[in-house]
């Protein structure tokens, strides 16, 4: 077997320490007032509403409505997302659960607002969207009672949401080129007005603009006189998803039913912030206790294990904060932190198994190098098998508690399709931290630990069987 050279230990340990430092503090550059984030640190972690306070609402059709289409539910989702952004709430989570016709929204308490009224916010989000069609796209600016200026379309609407039957995205092939379009179907009530409007605008080379909640969605030029009540909006869409988003939004303004709050939860921020500090403290204490135990009991392998464990925790935090560009950031909840702490405890397993094996080999009279080599190779299958079980469990947790359209939920759909999406959001984060904890445990506990142990055992003053668990000479 190839010998691992002495500096390897320091290289691996330094890499882990660097990872640990940068995950906690991040890497930023300040240019005057501007702050560029190169690596997102722990302060950039998006905290769940159980920590920073916030709102958790499920919207659905009012009463017992049958025949709800997927596009209508997606429309509700899109309009709510648009309203959240309009209210400067950008760190929301929103999921459309099309099997159970509901839309789940979670967003944090606005820290800038002292008197944030969550009920008013929920009310506003769940309003039926105001869909209007205007001749041309002129706007006028008015001032509301609070002194804010509002830009709204000028004139009286020719059609409203009540006159629209549905909108859908589709492909149309013209001259051999296929492009995404939105097809608009009107009800009989809107056909006459639309026919008149298209006639005028066609003759004047004008447009008809479509507005949702006073935001202009589209302003297509009228190329025909349309009297059948079926129109096609074409040309403006870069891809099919853009067309279907517009179709969804139009549908949300033409819902044949009202939107109702199916369930709601509001969490005040005062309760959560303290609990974050307490959990972080618990994590630090747990790490120290486990580290002391490992060093006192396993000596050299224990010391190496502590460095690996640090790497594992740093890796878990990094996988949540969005440190690695290929892993998107993740909302961290209290159970999510508990998951990280739990994996501190479980994470020593790989190191414990290896250290126990090495101890046995030493006591069986093997040399230090051969004991380390055999201890590592003999314990691999047990470590791998043990990790697989926790991964199975973590995947099921993420599938059950995660967003209905998420990867894991989709995998479990054949079994769990009958059931509604999770009524609470905080366990998803636990499944995730457990999952990444195990992955990093494997990477660190197997790869990094072994490299470090083989390398550090080359130092003469550390080449003592006692340090690897043998009897004291």
């Amino acid at each position: 077997m190839k010998r691992t050279s002495k500096p390897v230990f320091f290289i691996v340990a330094l890499l882990i320490l660097a990872l640990g430092y940068t995950t906690i503090f991040g890497v930023y550059a300040n240019y005057g007032d501007r702050r560029d984030t190169y690596i997102r640190g722990a302060a950039d972690i998006r905290l769940g509403i159980d920590i920073q306070g916030g709102v958790d609402v499920t919207f659905g059709p009012e009463g017992n409505v049958k025949n709800v289409t997927e596009s209508q539910i997606n429309g509700i989702k899109d309009i709510i997302a648009q309203r959240l952004v309009g209210n400067n709430i950008t760190d929301y989570e929103i999921y459309a659960d099309t099997t159970n016709n509901q839309v789940i929204v979670r967003f944090p308490w606005k820290s800038t607002e002292e008197n944030f009224d969550p009920n008013a916010a929920i009310d506003e989000l769940g309003k039926t969207a105001l869909l209007e069609f205007y001749l041309g796209s002129e706007t006028e600016t008015t001032t509301d009672k609070d002194g804010n200026t509002i830009e709204s379309p000028k004139g009286t609407p020719i059609l409203t949401g009540d006159d629209v039957d549905s909108a859908s995205a589709m492909y149309i092939t013209e001259d051999g080129v296929s492009s995404p379009v939105v097809q608009l179907k009107l009800k009989d009530s809107g056909r006459k007005a639309f026919s008149d409007a298209t006639k005028t605008q066609y003759e004047n080379n004008g447009t008809i603009s479509i507005w949702l909640d006073n935001q202009m969605l589209q302003n297509p030029s009228v190329k025909n006189h349309i009297s059948e009540g079926v129109a096609v909006i074409s040309g403006g869409f870069s891809d099919f998803s853009e067309a279907s988003q517009i179709a969804n939004l139009i549908n949300s303004g033409a819902l044949p039913f009202g939107i109702e709050v199916k369930s709601n939860g509001v969490i005040d921020p005062t309760l959560g912030v303290k609990s974050l500090d307490i959990m972080v403290l618990a994590g630090i204490i747990a790490f120290i206790i486990v580290s002391l135990f490992m060093i006192l009991y396993y000596r050299l392998p224990g010391f190496v294990a502590v460095i690996s464990l640090l790497g594992q925790v740093a890796g878990s935090i990094a996988a949540v904060s969005g440190y690695f560009s290929f892993i998107p950031s993740f909302t961290l909840t209290l159970p999510g932190i508990a998951g990280i702490i739990l994996s501190i405890g479980m994470g020593v397993d790989a190191n414990v198994i290896t250290a126990e094996r090495i101890k046995e080999e030493i006591r069986a009279g093997r040399s230090i190098d051969s004991a380390i080599a055999r201890g590592s190779s003999e314990s691999f299958s047990a470590i791998a098998d043990g990790n697989v079980t926790v991964i199975i469990v973590a995947i099921i947790l993420m599938g059950v508690f995660g967003p209905p359209s998420g990867l894991w939920a989709t995998i479990l759909k054949p079994v769990l399709f009958l059931f509604p999406a999770s009524t609470t959001g905080s366990i998803y984060s636990f499944g995730y931290t457990l999952f990444v904890g195990i992955i990093f445990n494997f990477l660190m506990g197997v790869t990094a630990s072994r490299l470090m142990l083989r390398s550090i055992a080359r130092f003469k003053f550390l080449r003592k069987p006692w340090l690897l668990g043998g009897e004291r000479a």
Partner: protein, 317 residues
């Protein structure tokens, strides 16, 4: 340091008795005290208000009963995190935003000197809660099935079916213990319950697998004259320090969380960490003391059966 040597197989009757005793006590608690479901599973509404001063619980309860016409229950508690007095109101049905608002107003009118302010609301329709509860139960069953199939495939050389079946018994043991932890500590079953049960399943099976792994190895290495019981006992003893130490570290980490959560009265975390502590012990115990010995019993039973068949066929001939 002495080498660990304990006769796990010989003491199996004691272990089985302990487990049956625990299950029996848990069942008694379950029968007498019942089990409560959290809002997320049974639906309903839970409102939390902060207040100052001394509220009369019964008066508040009857006041809200009268205003809402529902069978509400009111509890007063205190969060140690910031020494806040909290009024908890739970209702059997989901209530609309407007009803929440009017309740706020009614409370503030009736108890205007108490500075009542709403902290949390959680409102969910009972049908949705029940369906979600079912989903969680299916998920637990699903996890158990996947895990047992995995064990059966990985250990088919030492009799995958028997290894999987005994692992399943250990898993059921752990599910029951985790469940009883919720019953005995009077914690309503909530999403934490699912998180605890599933983590314990993964954790406990991890232990079981390490022991099976040793059994597989020792069957190769050890003298063929050793009985199954001896092989398993040696295997359990060899991996015992590891099972114990990993469980100890996990237990220490979880109990740190539990302790701090108890001190600061963080309900959502205590209801997670305390059952988890018990589950970690159960997971280690069931792998070491139940699964291995049970597997030996199964194998010995099969051997006796085979031997009996052989002698019978000899007698015939």
């Amino acid at each position: 340091m002495k080498k660990f040597n304990f006769d796990f197989i010989g003491k199996r009757k004691t272990f089985f008795a302990i487990s049956i005793g625990i299950v029996f006590v848990g069942l008694l608690f379950n029968i007498f005290f019942g089990v409560r479901l959290d809002i997320s599973f049974k639906g309903g509404t839970l409102l939390k208000y902060s207040y100052q001063g001394a509220l009369d619980r019964e008066k508040v309860e009857s006041f809200i009963k009268e205003k809402t016409g529902m069978d509400v229950s009111v509890q007063l508690s205190e969060t140690t995190a910031d020494n806040q007095e909290v009024l908890n109101i739970s209702m059997p049905e989901a209530i609309s935003l407007d009803d929440q608002k009017s309740l706020d107003n009614e409370l503030n009118k009736e108890y205007k000197d108490f500075n009542i302010e709403r902290l949390n609301v959680n409102s969910l329709s009972p049908t949705m809660g029940r369906l979600f509860f079912l989903k969680c139960l299916v998920a637990i069953a699903l996890a158990a099935v996947f895990l047992v199939i995995y064990v059966a495939i990985r250990f088919r050389k030492i009799g995958g079916i028997s290894a999987g079946a005994m692992a399943l018994v250990a898993l059921l043991h752990d599910i029951l213990v985790a469940y009883f932890a919720f019953v005995i500590f009077r914690i309503p079953l909530n999403d934490n319950f699912v998180a605890v049960v599933l983590s314990i399943l993964g954790f406990s099976l991890n232990d079981t697998i390490v022991i099976y792994d040793r059994i597989r190895e020792n069957r190769r290495k050890m003298d063929k004259t050793n009985s199954i019981g001896e092989i398993v006992n040696v295997s359990i003893n060899q991996s015992f320090t590891r099972s114990f130490n990993t469980s100890l570290c996990t237990f220490l980490a979880v109990s740190t969380v539990a302790l701090l959560a108890l001190i600061y009265n963080l309900e959502s975390i205590t209801s997670f960490a305390v059952p988890m502590m018990i589950g970690v012990i159960s997971g280690c115990y069931s792998s070491v003391c139940i699964c291995g010995p049970l597997w030996v019993m199964w194998k010995e039973h099969r051997q006796r059966k085979d031997a009996l068949l052989k002698t019978k066929s000899k007698q015939k001939a």
